[in-house]
């Protein structure tokens, strides 16, 4: 009954968002304010309505109402209430509803906060964002409805899942559900999927503003671009968190000792992150110098296009991936949606191309603009390489008929040098100021970090003679690290000299005074920490595998792992566990007991490998139970990975997120900054007064 109400509410939300889309176009084109207002009100209603549907679905999951096909598919009595609730986004139907819901929330926030400020753009902001929302709600209502029921037609093999009763069918009430995919039964389920979805959907707002600016021809102005920057930043924050959490989850759950496999789904997430990052950098040039407007427009549209492209290739299964999203009928509808979005935005961009003009021209090649342009180009080159590697199997199959795989070696070899160049630029960029800059001065400032990094590299190269290529990576990481430290030091010294502050207070005030900039440097520090982790993963990862009888040990480097016995027992969540008891020693010193195990989910007939991990600052010993024999004697096959430096990836991820928080945290000073931005455009002062 409750589900039926949820269904009706969902349908009303669909009608309202459709109305909002049409009404806003009409109101915008005919310049009729009442229609636009009406569209706004309709849009504002969509979020509460979808919230209601979400609550109904959550409730159904919580009370295990298996009469709903979705609840039957993704939950079961064996699952804990926590996991049952996270199952909201554990399957296609629920995740698309969740997606539409977040999108409607974003639209609502924009309409409430930016209505006056960006009034002229609003009709088309509503059109674009609500058209997208309408599409997703339509998918929920007509294609993958989470409120579908199960029907049984006597004589038929399979159950039917529809909302309405098919002819001659009786409703089927299962006693228990099939349960969530075992790989998703993890605490990480609360973090990675929702942050990723928020990140992905968040890009719809910048896109809507960009489209509205193009349609109205007001893209030459800057008001919209500030709104766009903020929303891109918001989406980017969540996407970044989603990426870090996803990597951690893969490391913990997928059981292959790594955190990034260059799988199409990961790439689908990574591409918009790359272009979004490029945008966040280039938008500074638009804000500070009124430059690169066309470029920004392209980046916004591209980023959004990549989010829906990524969603499309992964949800329709046209490119095979380890992430098994259930295939469904949403393919053709989704194809029409991305086709219309791509073609119309490109056409719009071309028609309005000439309205996008720069105000200032570049003055010298060593100045920061050149660095920024180069850096943007590198981001795009990486994004292209990732894109190309992701779609190439499809192209190959179409043209030559042979299926191929483009695996991690391709991505590492192609993007590696590009990342190297990008990180190098990251170290140099802060030292080229916005306008003219003499090369000699830059050289002088960078000399100290350069020499120190050379020293560090020499020591490293000596210690790790067997991995000559790692020294390039290390030189890069240490140079950029010291360059950033130098930049901090310069700021501190200025404050110490001018105000007589002690270094710590100077550092603190430096952050307070210019959060965005120094937050940005913290983000850069996070990036080089992750880079250090990647260097460890690339050059110093070791693995070994062996079959052991009780009492025997497997050796890898300084570590040895002794097998002490095997035990099997039933676990929670409907799984049978086989666990190996092993003792980890380092240089014959006992460290701790590790219990790698294999969980077998009985209902799903699916095994899940759970690694036994010993984690220290510099090294993770990651052990896996690969197989076992009980006849004639008990023996196990164990695999050990020694992952050096891998924890820098997580630490770096946290530092990155910390940097983002510093950069976006509202401060008293941030609004006043506009007073000394040298711009000929009076809009800045207008918005300043408007605050």
């Amino acid at each position: 009954m409750l589900a039926n109400i949820g269904l009706v509410i969902l349908f009303i939300a669909f009608l309202l968002s459709l109305f909002a889309t049409l009404s806003s176009v009409y109101g915008g084109v005919k310049n009729k304010n009442a229609w636009v207002e009406s569209a706004r009100n309709a849009s504002l209603l969509v979020f509460p309505l979808l919230s209601f549907s979400i609550i109904v679905l959550l409730y159904s999951l919580y009370v295990m109402d298996f009469s709903l096909a979705y609840v039957y598919d993704v939950s079961s009595t064996a699952m804990s209430p926590f996991l049952r609730l996270t199952a909201l986004w554990g399957g296609q139907q629920g995740s698309v509803l969740f997606w539409a819901w977040i999108m409607s929330a974003f639209v609502m926030i924009v309409l409430l906060r930016k209505w006056e400020e960006n009034r002229a753009l609003m009709p088309y902001v509503i059109t674009t964002s609500m058209l997208t929302t309408t599409f997703f709600i339509a998918v929920v209502v007509f294609i993958t409805n989470p409120f579908s029921k199960l029907w049984y037609i006597p004589g038929a093999e399979d159950l039917i899942k529809t909302v309405f009763q098919p002819v001659g069918a009786v409703q089927y009430f299962p006693v228990d559900g099939r349960g969530l995919n075992p790989l998703l039964r993890h605490f990480g389920m609360i973090g990675h999927p929702p942050t990723t979805y928020i990140g992905f959907t968040g890009f719809v707002i910048p896109f809507s503003f960009a489209i509205a600016a193009l349609v109205t021809g007001k893209s030459g102005e800057d008001g919209w671009i500030r709104t766009t920057r903020r929303w891109t930043l918001l989406a980017w924050i969540f996407l970044s968190i989603g990426l870090v959490l996803g990597g951690r989850w893969a490391y913990d759950v997928l059981g292959w000792g790594g955190f990034w496999g260059w799988d199409p789904v990961e790439n689908a997430m990574f591409m918009p992150w790359l272009t979004g990052t490029a945008f966040l950098h280039s938008v500074m040039m638009t804000e500070k110098r009124g430059m690169l407007k066309k470029w920004n427009m392209i980046l916004i549209i591209l980023t959004y296009a990549l989010t829906i492209f990524g969603t499309f290739i992964t949800r329709t299964g046209i490119i095979s991936s380890v992430h098994a999203f259930s295939k469904s009928a949403l393919g053709p509808a989704f194809f029409a949606f991305i086709g219309i979005t791509f073609v119309s935005s490109l056409t719009l961009l071309f028609t309005r191309w000439d309205t996008l003009k720069s105000e200032h021209q570049l003055e010298s090649f060593t100045s920061r603009e050149a660095v920024f342009v180069l850096q943007n180009m590198l981001f795009l080159a990486i994004a292209f390489a990732v894109f190309w590697g992701t779609v190439f199997p499809l192209i190959s199959e179409l043209i030559t008929g042979s299926k191929i795989t483009v695996g991690p070696p391709y991505f590492k070899k192609v993007t590696g040098p590009l990342f190297f160049a990008l990180i190098l630029l990251m170290g140099v960029a802060p030292f080229s100021s916005w306008r003219k800059q003499s090369l000699a001065k830059v050289k002088k400032v960078l000399l100290t970090p350069f020499l120190i990094s050379l020293g560090a590299t020499a020591v490293w190269g000596y210690v790790h003679r067997t991995h000559p290529f790692s020294i390039f990576g290390l030189w890069l990481v240490s140079f950029v690290f010291f360059a950033i430290i130098t930049e901090f030091w310069r700021g501190i010294r200025v404050r110490m000299a001018s105000r007589g502050e002690n270094p710590l207070i100077a550092l603190f005030k430096l952050f307070r005074r210019n959060q965005r900039r120094y937050g940005g440097y913290i983000i850069h520090l996070g990036v080089i920490m992750i880079a250090l982790g990647v260097i460890g993963d690339t050059y110093f990862k070791q693995e070994t595998q062996g079959t052991l009888k009780v009492g025997e040990a497997l050796k890898i480097g300084a570590y040895s792992l002794r097998f002490d016995g095997l035990q099997g027992f039933p676990g929670s969540d409907g799984r049978d566990i086989v666990e190996a008891k092993t003792m980890l020693y380092k240089n014959d010193q006992f460290i701790r007991e590790l219990t790698p195990r294999r969980d077998f989910f009985v209902v799903q007939q699916q095994p899940v490998t759970v690694a036994g991990v010993y984690s220290s600052l510099n090294v993770d010993v990651y052990t896996m139970l690969v197989g076992w024999e009980t006849q004639p004697t008990q023996s196990v096959t164990l695999k050990i990975y020694v992952n050096s430096l891998i924890n820098w990836v997580w630490t770096g991820g946290m530092v990155l997120i910390l940097g983002i928080l510093i950069a976006v945290c509202p401060s008293k000073k941030s609004k006043r900054r506009v007073t000394y931005v040298m711009k000929s455009n009076p809009l800045y002062f207008e918005s300043f007064l408007g605050d």
Partner: protein, 198 residues
């Protein structure tokens, strides 16, 4: 205040206009290339989508192939016109294949002298395990590995086991996904044997 600033950028600067003119050709060709690339991408996605949604090739003429058995004897599908052909895709690592193996062999024994050909196509398997499987179920009909997965790609199989039915005229008459259960194969063969062609 807002109204006053609207037109700042839409005014054309004469100098810029002349520069723009020079680049018009570049611009036009750039646009054509961009559109071309976009439509190429959309075409690629449409093709991929159609392929995913199409599923097995289950009607029309059966894609021809030549299969070599584990001893090197070859068999070509088009040489078998006039006979009813059962093409079974299997693999030793696939548990459901084991469910149908005995039934398949029994049916083969029953029909092998009545103008029926069974072809076992071993999908990505190791030779050792495949031979062990054939031994275990005492399979006597023609079996060979699908080298380079060419045959399974031609039939666009989605998994194993899958069984394709080919009529005497070489036309596909459907596909069974999953293990065969008695007596469905008998019924299908009888149906196809009953067909007559001039």
């Amino acid at each position: 205040m807002e109204e006053a600033t609207v037109n700042v950028d839409s005014q054309e600067h004469p100098e810029e206009a002349s520069i723009e003119k020079h680049s018009t050709m570049w611009k036009t060709s750039g646009r054509i290339v961009t559109y071309f690339l976009l439509f190429a991408l959309l075409g690629l996605l449409a093709w991929g989508l159609a392929k995913v949604q199409r599923g097995q090739v289950h009607s029309g003429e059966a894609p021809n192939f030549t299969l070599k058995d584990f001893n090197g004897n070859a068999l070509t599908l088009s040489d078998l016109r006039g006979q009813v052909i059962i093409i079974n895709f299997w693999a030793s690592w696939c548990p459901p294949c084991r469910e149908e193996a005995a039934y398949l062999e029994q049916t083969w024994e029953k029909y092998k002298d009545r103008g029926v050909v069974f072809i076992g196509v071993d999908y990505v398997d190791t030779e050792k395990e495949a031979l062990a499987y054939i031994n275990e179920f005492k399979v006597t009909y023609f079996n060979g590995p699908d080298i380079g997965t060419r045959i399974s790609q031609a039939y666009n199989i989605q998994g194993v086991p899958e069984t394709f039915y080919v009529a005497k005229n070489g036309q596909l008459r459907g596909v069974k996904v999953g293990p065969l259960q008695s007596p469905e194969l008998d019924l299908k063969i009888e149906e196809l044997l009953a067909e007559t062609y001039p």
